[in-house]
C-alpha cells in the first residue's frame, strides 16, 4: 500500500496515481524505506531479538556473513525467535518514531531518526507507522522536482563521511552499541522532504551513539559493514549530521565515486540511479571475499527482495565466493553505466507511509533501485541456506529475519493471510508495497534496471519463495492486533516467505486453525459432555433385584392359578366340553360344522389300504396347537385302515411325525399302517421330489432292513404319487400349505383331493384356495383350523383329546380378549372426545 504524499490517502500497492487526488505516487524501494526507517532510529527493543549496534566501519565481509544464520533459519518451536526479534525491531522502530511524533507526521522523511526505543514498543507501533507514513508522504511530495534537492540536501549533510567511510555499515537502529542513534531529520518543507528523508535515512544507517532510554549502543550489523555503508569504529554521528554520515555510511559507491562524493545522488534528475544506490553498487563491487555467498547475501538480498517482480530462481550456490546479489549488483552497475539511462529520483523516493519507509530503510542497504529491483528478484527467488555464524550474530539475526520478512514473493503467487495478531504492521506494509511496486512498470522510483536472471538467484533466496499454503504464524502481541486489521494483505507474502524458509507447515486456514485450537483446548468436561440421548432402560443386572421380581411374578402367577383352580370347575361347567357340545348344536356353529363336515368327507371316503400322504408342516413351537389336530386326523385315518405316509418339508417335521406315529403304534404298528418318509428338502422342490416316491428313503426303518419305500414290506405296491388316494397337510403357516397346493396337483395331475388342517393364524390366508376350488382346479377340498375346529373334530370322532380340554380356557381367553378390546375402544373414543 502506498500513501499519497499530497492527500495522504492510501492507495493500492502498485498504483501509480492516487485514487483521490490523482497525483503521481512516488515509490521508493521497500527495502530502502525499511532500511532508512530502521537505521534512522535507535534500536527498538524487540522481544527475543538481540541486535547489536555494529560499529560504523566498512564491512569486511559480505553482508550477512557474520550474521547468526542459524538463528535465522531455525524453525521456530513455539514462537520463532526471528519473528520475535523482528517484532522487537518493529517495536524499537516504533518507539523511536514515537519520540519524534511531530516530525514524523509532518515529514515522512524524518522517520529514520534515531529516537530511543522505549520499553513499550508494542503499543507504540501506531506512532511508528504513522511516522513512516508521514515520511513517505513527505518524500512523495518532493519526489520528482525535489529529488535533486534531496540529494543536494543530503550532500551537505554528509559531506565527507560518505567517501571517507565507504565501509561504514549502515546499522539498524536496533542495538547499535557505540553507534549513535540516527537522529531524526529536521523539519523541512514538504517539498524538501524527499532529499533530506533519504539522506537522513541513509544517514541514520550509521550506528547511533546517543540512543534513548535504555537502548544500548550496538555495533552496526556485519552486512552493513560489508556493504561499506557503516564504519564500525566510527562513533555515531548525531542526527543533524545524517547527511554527512550518510555519505560516510554509504561509502564510495560507484556513482558517488564518479561524482566524487559518493553521496546519495546527484542533483540531476536525469540520473538513472540515485546516489545512494550507486554507492551501494560501488560497495558491492569493492567488497572483499566473503563467507559463503549465499549466507552473506541472505540478509541483503532479503532487504531488497521486496522490489522483486521476477519469480525467484533457485540457485543453490552456497560455496560461491561472492553472494549472488553482489554479482547482480555488479552486473546491474555495469549495465547501468553502459546504458546510461536517466535515473529518476522520484522513483526511488516515493511518498510512503511508515511501513514503507521502514522497508525502504532496509532496502537501502542494498544497491539502489535499478540494481535493487534486480537484486530483489534474485533474493526473492532463492531461499538460500543461512550463512554460517560468522561475526556478529545478534545484528545478523534480526537483519536476516527482517530481510526474510521483507522479502516479497512474486505477485503471481498469492499467499493466504496469516493471523492478524501475528503479523507486524510494518510487515504487512512491506508486503503491500511489493505488489504495488511490481505493478508499476513505469514507477519513477525504480530506474531502469535489467532484470536479473532467475537462475542466478542464490539458494537461500529461492528457499524463501513463498508457497501457496499459509504458514502458521505465532501469535503476536495483542496490541498489534487492531492495527493489523487495517494492514493490507501484502504483508502476508512476507510471512509466507518466512514460513517457507523456516519450514513451517502452512495452514490453509489460519482462522480455522485458531478456532480448532480453541475447541481442542476446551475443558474436558465440556468436551465430553454427553449428548442426552433417549437410552432404553437398562435391564436390571442386580441379581437380588431379579430374584425379587421373579418371586413377585411367581406369586402373581400362583395367585392366578389358584383362583383359576377355584373357578376352574365353574368355568369348566360353563365353557367346557359340555358347553361346547351344546354350542355345536346351535346355529352359530353352523359354519364350523359345515367346514368340518366338508373336511371329513374325503376322509370318510377312504377305503382300507388306501395310501394317504400326510404332511406334517409345523414345528415344536406350534406343536401345542397342531399336535392335537394332527393326532385326531391321523386317528381318523387309521381307524379307516388307511396306510399313512408322513412327509415334511421342514426338518423338524420328521421327528414330530415320528412321534405322532409312535403314539399310534400300539394300535397301528409302524411300518404296517404308517411309515415316515422324513424330510423333503427344497421346499417347493421337495414336493416335486415325490415324483420318485418309490425311491424315497424312510425316516426310520420299521424292520431295520428296508431303507426305501419300495423295499419295505407292505409298501412295495406303491409306484408313485399316482397311487396316493388322499393328501392331507397339517401346517402352522400358509406358506407351506401354498407349496403343496401349487405343486402337488401338477405332480399328481389333480387326481387326489387335498385337505388342509392349519392353525388359526393361517386359516384366513388359506381359505381363498378353498373358495376357489369350485371354479379352478385348486384341488383344496377341505379346510379346518384352530383349536375350536380341533375340539369339534374330536367330538365328531368321539375321542376327546387335548383340544377339548383347552376349549374352556380358550373360551375364557376369548372372553377376556373381547373385554379388553372393548375397554380399549371405549377408552380411545373417550380420549378423542376429550381432545375435541
Amino acid at each position: 500500500m502506498s500513501i499519497c504524499p499530497n492527500c495522504g490517502a492510501s492507495n493500492q500497492a502498485g498504483s501509480t496515481t492516487c485514487v483521490q487526488c490523482g497525483k503521481l505516487l512516488e515509490v521508493i524501494p521497500d527495502w530502502l524505506e525499511l532500511l532508512l526507517a530502521r537505521y534512522g532510529e535507535p534500536m527498538p527493543a524487540f522481544e527475543g531479538i538481540s541486535v547489536e549496534c555494529v560499529p560504523s566501519a566498512a564491512p569486511t565481509e559480505p553482508l550477512g556473513a557474520q550474521r547468526a544464520l542459524s538463528d535465522v533459519v531455525q524453525p521456530p518451536t513455539d514462537v520463532p525467535p526471528e519473528d520475535v526479534e523482528l517484532l522487537s525491531e518493529v517495536e524499537k522502530l516504533r518507539r523511536s518514531a514515537k519520540d519524534q511524533p511531530a516530525f514524523v507526521e509532518a515529514q515522512p522523511s524524518e522517520e529514520t531518526s534515531t529516537s530511543t526505543v522505549t520499553s513499550a514498543a508494542h503499543k507504540e507501533i501506531d506512532d511508528w507507522l504513522a511516522e513512516l507514513r508521514a515520511l513517505q508522504e513527505k518524500t512523495a511530495l518532493n519526489s520528482a522536482p525535489t529529488m535533486p534537492s534531496e540529494e543536494s540536501a543530503l550532500e551537505p549533510a554528509q559531506p565527507a563521511s560518505s567517501e571517507s567511510h565507504p565501509e561504514q555499515e549502515i546499522s539498524p537502529s536496533l542495538e547499535l552499541p557505540g553507534e549513535p542513534a540516527p537522529t531524526k531529520q529536521p523539519d523541512t518543507v514538504p517539498g524538501e522532504t524527499l532529499a533530506p528523508s533519504i539522506e537522513e535515512r541513509l544517514g541514520v544507517l550509521v550506528p547511533p551513539t546517543d540512543t534513548a532510554e535504555g537502548v544500548p549502543e550496538e555495533p552496526a550489523p556485519e552486512w552493513l559493514r560489508e556493504l561499506g555503508l557503516v564504519q564500525p569504529e566510527q562513533p555515531v554521528a548525531p542526527s543533524t549530521g545524517d547527511s554527512g554520515r550518510l555519505s560516510e555510511t554509504l561509502g564510495p559507491l560507484p556513482v558517488a565515486e564518479a561524482s566524487t562524493t559518493g553521496e546519495l545522488g546527484e542533483s540531476s534528475s536525469e540520473e538513472e540511479i540515485p546516489d545512494w544506490l550507486k554507492r551501494l553498487i560501488a560497495i558491492s563491487s569493492q567488497m572483499p571475499e566473503s563467507p559463503p555467498p549465499g549466507e552473506v547475501a541472505e540478509p541483503t538480498q532479503a532487504l531488497v527482495r521486496g522490489e522483486s517482480e521476477t519469480p525467484p530462481a533457485a540457485e543453490p550456490a552456497p560455496e560461491e565466493p561472492l553472494p549472488d546479489w553482489l554479482r547482480e549488483l555488479e552486473a546491474m552497475q555495469t549495465t547501468r553505466l553502459s546504458t546510461a539511462t536517466p535515473s529518476e529520483e522520484e522513483e526511488t523516493i516515493p511518498p510512503r507511509s511508515k511501513e514503507e519507509d521502514l522497508t525502504g530503510v532496509q532496502e537501502a542497504v542494498v544497491p539502489p533501485s535499478p540494481g535493487a529491483e534486480e537484486v530483489t528478484t534474485i533474493p526473492a527467488a532463492q531461499g538460500e541456506e543461512p550463512s554460517p555464524t560468522v561475526g556478529e550474530e545478534h545484528p545478523a539475526e534480526w537483519l536476516a529475519e527482517l530481510e526474510e520478512l521483507i522479502e516479497r514473493p512474486p505477485a503471481s503467487q498469492p499467499t493466504p493471510p496469516p493471523a492478524e495478531e501475528e503479523v507486524p504492521d510494518w510487515l504487512r506494509e512491506l508486503a503491500a508495497e511489493k505488489p504495488e511496486a511490481m505493478a508499476e512498470p513505469q514507477a519513477p522510483a525504480v530506474p531502469e534496471i535489467p532484470q536479473p536472471e532467475p537462475a542466478e538467484l542464490p539458494q537461500w533466496v529461492s528457499q524463501l519463495r513463498p508457497t501457496e499454503a499459509a504458514a502458521e504464524v505465532p501469535p503476536a502481541e495483542p496490541a498489534a492486533a487492531p492495527l493489523e486489521e487495517a494492514v493490507p494483505t501484502g504483508g502476508e507474502d512476507v510471512i509466507e516467505t518466512l514460513r517457507a524458509s523456516l519450514g513451517i507447515p502452512q495452514v490453509p486456514d489460519v482462522e480455522g486453525a485458531e478456532m480448532f485450537r480453541e475447541i481442542v483446548s476446551e475443558p474436558l468436561e465440556t468436551a465430553l459432555t454427553p449428548v442426552p440421548e433417549e437410552v432404553e432402560p437398562t435391564p436390571r443386572r442386580n441379581a437380588v433385584t431379579v430374584i425379587i421380581w421373579a418371586l413377585i411374578f411367581a406369586a402373581i402367577l400362583l395367585g392366578i392359578a389358584i383362583l383359576s383352580l377355584a373357578l376352574l370347575a365353574r368355568v369348566q361347567e360353563l365353557l367346557g366340553e359340555t358347553a361346547f357340545q351344546r354350542f355345536l348344536n346351535t346355529p352359530a356353529a353352523a359354519g364350523l360344522v359345515a367346514s368340518l363336515e366338508q373336511f371329513r368327507k374325503p376322509v370318510t371316503a377312504i377305503h382300507q389300504g388306501d395310501v394317504v400322504l400326510f404332511s406334517i408342516e409345523y414345528t415344536p413351537a406350534t406343536a401345542a396347537e397342531m399336535q392335537p389336530l394332527a393326532s385326531v386326523i391321523l386317528r381318523d385315518l387309521l381307524e379307516r385302515r388307511a396306510r399313512v405316509l408322513t412327509v415334511s418339508l421342514q426338518p423338524e417335521g420328521a421327528p414330530l411325525a415320528q412321534r405322532l406315529l409312535d403314539e399310534a403304534n400300539d394300535t397301528y404298528p409302524y411300518g404296517q399302517y404308517t411309515l415316515n418318509l422324513g424330510y423333503l428338502p427344497g421346499e417347493a422342490i421337495g414336493v416335486r421330489s415325490l415324483a420318485y416316491l418309490r425311491n424315497r428313503q424312510v425316516y426310520a426303518s420299521p424292520d431295520g432292513v428296508c431303507q426305501f419305500l419300495g423295499e419295505c414290506p407292505g409298501w412295495r405296491d406303491i409306484r408313485g404319487i399316482e397311487d396316493v388316494a388322499l393328501f392331507i397337510t397339517v401346517a402352522d403357516s400358509a406358506e407351506s400349505t401354498r407349496w403343496w397346493i401349487e405343486q402337488l396337483p401338477v405332480l399328481s395331475s389333480g387326481e387326489p383331493p387335498m385337505l388342509a388342517a392349519v392353525s388359526a393364524v393361517a386359516l384366513p390366508t388359506v381359505r381363498p384356495y378353498l373358495t376357489s376350488a369350485a371354479a379352478a382346479r385348486s384341488r383344496l377340498t377341505g379346510l379346518i383350523g384352530g383349536t375350536i375346529a380341533t375340539a369339534a373334530y374330536e367330538i365328531y370322532t368321539g375321542k376327546p383329546g387335548r383340544a377339548l380340554n383347552m376349549v374352556a380356557a380358550q373360551s375364557a381367553a376369548h372372553l377376556g380378549l373381547v373385554a379388553v378390546a372393548l375397554a380399549g375402544i371405549f377408552a380411545g373414543i373417550r380420549t378423542r372426545t376429550d381432545h375435541h
Binding site: F553, Q697, R738, Y769, G786
Partner: protein, 219 residues
C-alpha cells in the same frame, strides 16, 4: 418327575421372565432354543439328505448321483475368486429351478385360480334358488362381499394420480369411494388375522400352563 420335565419347566419360566424385561435368563433360554434347533436341523439334513446321497454316489455312481455333489462342490468353491465363474453354474441351477417352480406355482396355482374363481362369482339371484332366496343364501352374500372387497382393495392400491379428461372429477370420486371401501376391507382383514393369531397364541399359552400345572401336580 423326570429331569427332562424339570428342565423344561425351568426353561419355561426362563422364557416367561421376559415379561420383566430383557434379562440373562431369557437370553439363555433363547440361545438354547436357537442352538438346539440349528443343531437338530444339521443332524437331520446330514442323515436325511447328504448321507444317503453320498451313499448312493459311492455305491451306485451315476450321473444322477454324482452330479449333485459336483454342483455342491462348485458352489463351495465360490470362496476362491478364480472358481467363481464355475460356482455360477450351481447358482444358476438353483436359481433357475427354484424360480421356475415358484413362479409357475404362483401363476397357475394361486393367481390364475383366484382370478377365475373371482370372475366366476355369481350375483344372479336366480342362481341361488327361488326368488328372494338369495337374500338368505350365504353364498350370495359371500360372493357380494368378495366382489366388493376385491374391487375396493384394488382401488385402494391404485396410484393416486389426479385423473385428467372430461370426467376427471367423476373418476376421482369413483376411485376415492372404492378406495375407502377397500381400506375398510383391508382393516377388517388385518383385524381378522390379528384375532386368529391371538387365538393361536392363547392356545399355546394355555397348553403350557396346563402342562405346568400338571407337572406341579395342580391338575
Amino acid at each position: 418327575m423326570s429331569a427332562e420335565t424339570i428342565v423344561a419347566a425351568i426353561l419355561t419360566f426362563m422364557v416367561w421372565s421376559y415379561i420383566l424385561g430383557d434379562n440373562p435368563a431369557f437370553r439363555i433360554a433363547e440361545h438354547l432354543l436357537v442352538g438346539t434347533a440349528a443343531g437338530y436341523v444339521a443332524i437331520v439334513v446330514w442323515f436325511q439328505v447328504i448321507g444317503p446321497a453320498l451313499h448312493d454316489m459311492v455305491l451306485q455312481p451315476s450321473p444322477t448321483t454324482v452330479l449333485p455333489f459336483v454342483l455342491c462342490a462348485l458352489l463351495a468353491a465360490r470362496r476362491w475368486p478364480f472358481m467363481r465363474p464355475w460356482a455360477a453354474v450351481s447358482l444358476a441351477f438353483l436359481v433357475g429351478v427354484g424360480s421356475s417352480l415358484a413362479i409357475g406355482g404362483a401363476l397357475f396355482g394361486t393367481l390364475w385360480s383366484q382370478v377365475l374363481a373371482t370372475a366366476s362369482l355369481s350375483l344372479n339371484p336366480a342362481d341361488f334358488g327361488e326368488s328372494q332366496m338369495f337374500l338368505t343364501s350365504n353364498s350370495f352374500w359371500q360372493n357380494l362381499a368378495i366382489l366388493i372387497g376385491t374391487i375396493g382393495t384394488f382401488c385402494y392400491f391404485a396410484f393416486r394420480i389426479r385423473p385428467g379428461g372430461p370426467l376427471r372429477d367423476l373418476r376421482a370420486a369413483f376411485i376415492r369411494f372404492w378406495g375407502g371401501v377397500g381400506l375398510w376391507m383391508i382393516m377388517m382383514t388385518l383385524g381378522a388375522l390379528f384375532a386368529n393369531a391371538a387365538m393361536s397364541r392363547f392356545t399355546l399359552l394355555i397348553d403350557r400352563v396346563q402342562w405346568l400345572l400338571q407337572v406341579f401336580g395342580l391338575r
